[in-house]
């Protein structure tokens, strides 16, 4: 049983003929870490909104095909029901924070869902701890740095204990250190809580190593869907302007002369150990 099933999904806005999503077929299993990449305008964000019901319930358009998330048919389920199964974190922290205290902001969605006060307290504590921001409990989100704000945004979604979390370019406005922290946090949440992650991200240098799967989109279609190492060895990534991690670019360049990387390295440690191993072999 897949946690997300997409069958022949197409979508366009009523005012336009252009299909933003063009016959998408995709299945995702629980616990996967999916990285959704592709050039600007390829439909990544639109696809995300088809998963949590913003399309078609909030944004009107012509939707064809079927999207099943955690056994719910998205087109037939109101977004507030889907919210407990699939959460979404947006790009700009400022426009997803509603309260003047971190604690209240995390409680916000739970208040909307009508949970009891005790239940809310327990979940707020859980979310603060899981994200590592217990010390920010009584602070105002607007005094926090961008990275901290995104952590609050993640915590406020986590409090609903969804099975899937979608993050649409959550590090766009963050400095490199905060970006790295957020991506590491997401990975940690998946490992500890078995949450399925769908991450839209341009910074592949930081994100590719954590992904179990990379889906490359272009012009509303899925072009490639495979595990990271296999993706980067495909020519499409170079043509479609994907920001191949520099470690991999170096490895591919070296491979052209001396094929020492049979498997493309996703981290510096992997690169280093393969290179060192090879140098030792050569010296023998």
């Amino acid at each position: 049983m897949h946690i997300i099933e997409i069958e022949n999904l197409s979508f366009r806005y009523t005012t336009s003929d252009r299909k933003i999503l063009d016959n998408i077929n995709m299945v995702i299993d629980e616990g996967e870490f999916v990285l959704l990449i592709g050039p600007s305008g390829c439909g990544k964000t639109t696809l995300c909104k088809c998963l949590n019901g913003l399309i078609p319930h909030f944004h009107q358009g012509i939707l064809e095909g079927k999207v099943i998330v955690n056994n719910y048919n998205v087109a037939e389920t109101p977004p507030y029901v889907l919210a407990s199964s699939i959460g979404m974190v947006f790009q700009n922290p400022e426009n997803q924070l509603f309260s003047l205290s971190v604690e209240n902001d995390i409680a916000f969605a739970l208040e909307n869902l009508g949970y009891s006060r005790d239940e809310i307290k327990e979940r707020v504590d859980f979310a603060l701890k899981a994200v590592g921001i217990e010390d920010l409990r009584n602070r105002s989100p607007f005094e926090l740095s961008g990275g901290q704000q995104q952590k609050v945004a993640i915590a406020s979604i986590l409090a609903m204990k969804p099975k899937i979390i979608v993050l649409d370019e959550p590090t766009s406005f963050l400095d490199p250190l905060s970006a790295k922290n957020i991506i590491d946090l997401i990975s940690e949440l998946r490992n500890k809580l078995n949450i399925t992650i769908i991450l839209v991200e341009h910074r592949l240098d930081l994100a590719a190593r954590n992904a179990t799967r990379i889906i490359l989109m272009d012009n509303g279609k899925i072009v490639l869907d495979d595990e990271p190492r296999k993706i980067f060895s495909r020519i499409e990534t170079e043509v479609l302007g994907v920001a191949t991690p520099k470690i991999i670019r170096i490895a591919k360049s070296i491979n052209k002369k001396y094929r020492i990387f049979n498997e493309l390295p996703l981290t510096i440690e992997e690169f280093s150990s393969i290179l060192r191993g090879n140098l030792i072999d050569r010296s023998k």
Binding site: G146, L177, D205, I254, S272
Partner: protein
């Protein structure tokens, strides 16, 4: 990508003399900044969010005047000149293009500044034609700027600035939300402008972009300049980088990891790393 700083005669265009800037709220954003930029340079101002990058940029066209010290643009003290006059020399492209569009079509949008600066009608027509052509936006001439995609809006913001041919072009966080192809195009544009003798300054925390385009890097932290030099010198200094919530470029991180094998650490580009590793593999 080669280091493409071009010094044409070394005319001092921007001189910042020991300036201090305190916001009306009392926050000291700049604390003793000294800086000289010559014509034809390509400079990156880097530092954490809140380090003072945007505050410093606003001093270049007089939007802000220093509370202590002086800023000279082409010999003119900014305290004695209007923002409009200084903007003729220093074109600043701010982070969010949506903060400036208001006209009914792209053509009028570009003409706005040209009218304000007092250009004659025939000249305005020519410049609009040139700008649209240069930034590949001719097909959008009669469209409302609001309907353009994110990438096209950024190009339009640039077209607007370039239309009045300023000596100095300043870009505030130009790579946020951009995909790899867009960043490549930006890099090419910067080279082109540099070749034409223009001075280009970017404020950014995109380390990988800086590592690939290799400008002169000025590191800011808490309102002070903590380093100023070529990319390979500044971005590879781990102590200074940490102070600014930045991380080492990927390639540099790899070199640090391999430094015990005799690899130098001050490497930031993929090509240089590949050369060194191939040499090592060939036993040189």
């Amino acid at each position: 990508m080669k280091n493409f700083q071009v010094f044409l005669g070394g005319i001092l265009l921007i001189e910042v003399n020991n300036i201090e800037y305190i916001y009306p709220s009392g926050i000291k954003a700049l604390d003793g900044i000294n800086l000289k930029i010559n014509n034809g340079e390509y400079v990156a101002l880097m530092g954490e969010n809140g380090a003072g990058k945007t505050t410093l940029i606003k001093h270049f066209n007089g939007l802000l005047k220093p509370t202590k010290g002086d800023v000279y643009i082409n010999g003119i003290n900014t305290k004695n000149e209007s923002v409009a006059k200084l903007s003729r020399i220093v074109g600043i492209v701010f982070q969010n293009p949506d903060h400036q569009f208001f006209e009914e079509n792209v053509e009028k949008e570009i003409s706005f500044a040209l009218r304000n600066f007092g250009f004659k009608e025939e000249v305005i027509k020519k410049r609009i034609d040139w700008a649209l052509n240069f930034m590949n936006l001719e097909k959008y001439r009669n469209q409302p700027p609001f309907l353009l995609s994110g990438g096209e809006k950024k190009r339009l913001a640039l077209a607007i600035i370039l239309s009045w041919d300023p000596e100095i072009i300043v870009l505030d966080e130009p790579t946020i939300g951009q995909d790899y192809i867009q960043k490549e195009k930006l890099m090419q544009l910067i080279i082109q402008l540099n070749t034409q003798g223009k001075t280009v300054i970017i404020a950014t925390h995109d380390i990988e972009f800086v590592a690939e385009s290799k400008p002169r890097v000025i590191l800011l932290s808490k309102g002070k300049i903590i380093d100023d030099g070529p990319t390979e010198e500044v971005l590879t200094d781990i102590e200074k980088i940490k102070k600014c919530s930045l991380i080492l470029p990927q390639v540099t991180q790899l070199m640090y990891n391999l430094s015990d094998l005799g690899f130098p650490r001050k490497i930031v580009s993929v090509e240089d790393a590949v050369k060194l590793i191939l040499n090592k593999l060939e036993g040189k």
